[in-house]
């Protein structure tokens, strides 16, 4: 399905958020996720089904002041 991942439109072979992370090669990277502007806890990724056009944000620790 078509997903907007971190601002980029991608074709992702996945039905769930955890499936999308796997398909996008995140593996065991330490990240946090949001779908359509709402935080989705890691524990909920397996059950979170995605729809065409969903906006996914995948973030990780970075430098900050």
């Amino acid at each position: 399905m078509r997903l907007i991942v971190n601002g980029a439109s991608l074709d992702v072979q996945a039905e769930t958020l955890s499936g999308a992370l796997a398909a996008l090669d995140y593996g065991d990277a330490i990240v946090a996720t949001a779908v359509n502007g709402a935080f989705v806890p890691a524990s909920a990724r397996r059950d979170r089904r995605l729809e065409d056009g969903d906006r996914i944000e995948i973030v990780a620790p970075r430098q900050g002041g």
């Binding site: 990277a29 330490i30 946090a32 502007g37 944000e57 973030v59 990780a60 430098q63 900050g64 002041g65």
Partner: protein
């Protein structure tokens, strides 16, 4: 004399909080943190690529430095953005602490104080321990405390400007109005003397980033900031003399030789 500093029940020994952004390299960041020896460093969350995974190395570096992390909501311009970012940060960093930034203006990066108070209330009710980046406005401070904040972080000057303490009167006033609240001057610091001056006003700690990261020698100035903050704290506690207009000789008058 016990001069302990406590944020949300956690005792903090260093009154320097250090940001981790904009260093010339990860090595310089690590060296500066070791030189400054902060108990707390600020971090952020940014988009991660599955392939490049830049954040994983950074997180490994930070964990190795042994300081406690204070995640920020830098770049958030709305309540929703800030709250969502804080939720993500709590999960990733494993801490209820959040440096809450809700930014209202692109030139000054000043807080949107209305959004700040609203986000502080939402997050406090959800169990976060909020460190709000705010102005020195007394009414905003009162509302942030009512919203559940137990620490306030007023600016010295706009982020990254290095101007120092732009409104000493306002900072003095804030300190006097809230004598029992931990107050951290956050943003706009440029030189160690600025940090010392804030500590001499009675502020509890200083948060700075650009002043170290963009200095000619970040490691040298990191150490200097730590020293300046200690000196400023002692200068406050030791009861410095008040300024006076008229000179008073320090050398005794009695016993002067006469050469008339």
């Amino acid at each position: 004399m016990d001069d302990a500093l406590t944020f949300y029940g956690t005792e903090i020994r260093s009154r320097l909080l250090l940001g981790t952004a904009q260093y010339p390299s990860p090595q310089v960041l690590a060296d500066a943190v070791r030189a400054a020896a902060p108990d707390i460093v600020t971090v952020s969350l940014r988009r991660e690529s599955g392939r490049l995974r830049e954040g994983q190395d950074f997180w490994g570096l930070i964990r190795g430095l042994g300081a406690r992390v204070l995640p920020n909501t830098a770049g958030c311009h709305s309540v929703k953005e800030a709250v969502t970012t804080a939720q993500m940060a709590r999960e990733v960093f494993g801490t209820p602490w959040v440096k809450l930034e809700v930014i209202g203006d692109a030139d000054t990066l000043q807080p949107d104080v209305f959004g700040l108070v609203e986000a502080a209330k939402i997050l406090s009710e959800d169990g976060f321990e909020v460190f709000p980046y705010t102005t020195a406005d007394l009414v905003v401070a009162e509302k942030l405390l009512e919203a559940g904040c137990k620490v306030l972080m007023p600016w010295g000057a706009p982020i990254g400007t290095g101007m120092g303490l732009n409104d000493v009167y306002a900072l003095r006033s804030l300190r006097a109005h809230f004598p029992d609240v931990p107050l951290v001057v956050d943003a706009g610091i440029g030189k160690p003397s600025h940090a010392a001056a804030a500590m001499e006003l009675g502020y509890d700690a200083i948060l700075l980033n650009t002043a170290v990261a963009k200095a000619g020698d970040p490691v040298m100035i990191a150490r200097a900031f730590a020293q300046a903050i200690e000196a400023g704290r002692a200068g406050y506690l030791a009861g410095p003399i008040e300024p006076r207009d008229m000179a008073a000789p320090s050398t005794p008058v009695f016993g002067r030789a006469s050469f008339a």
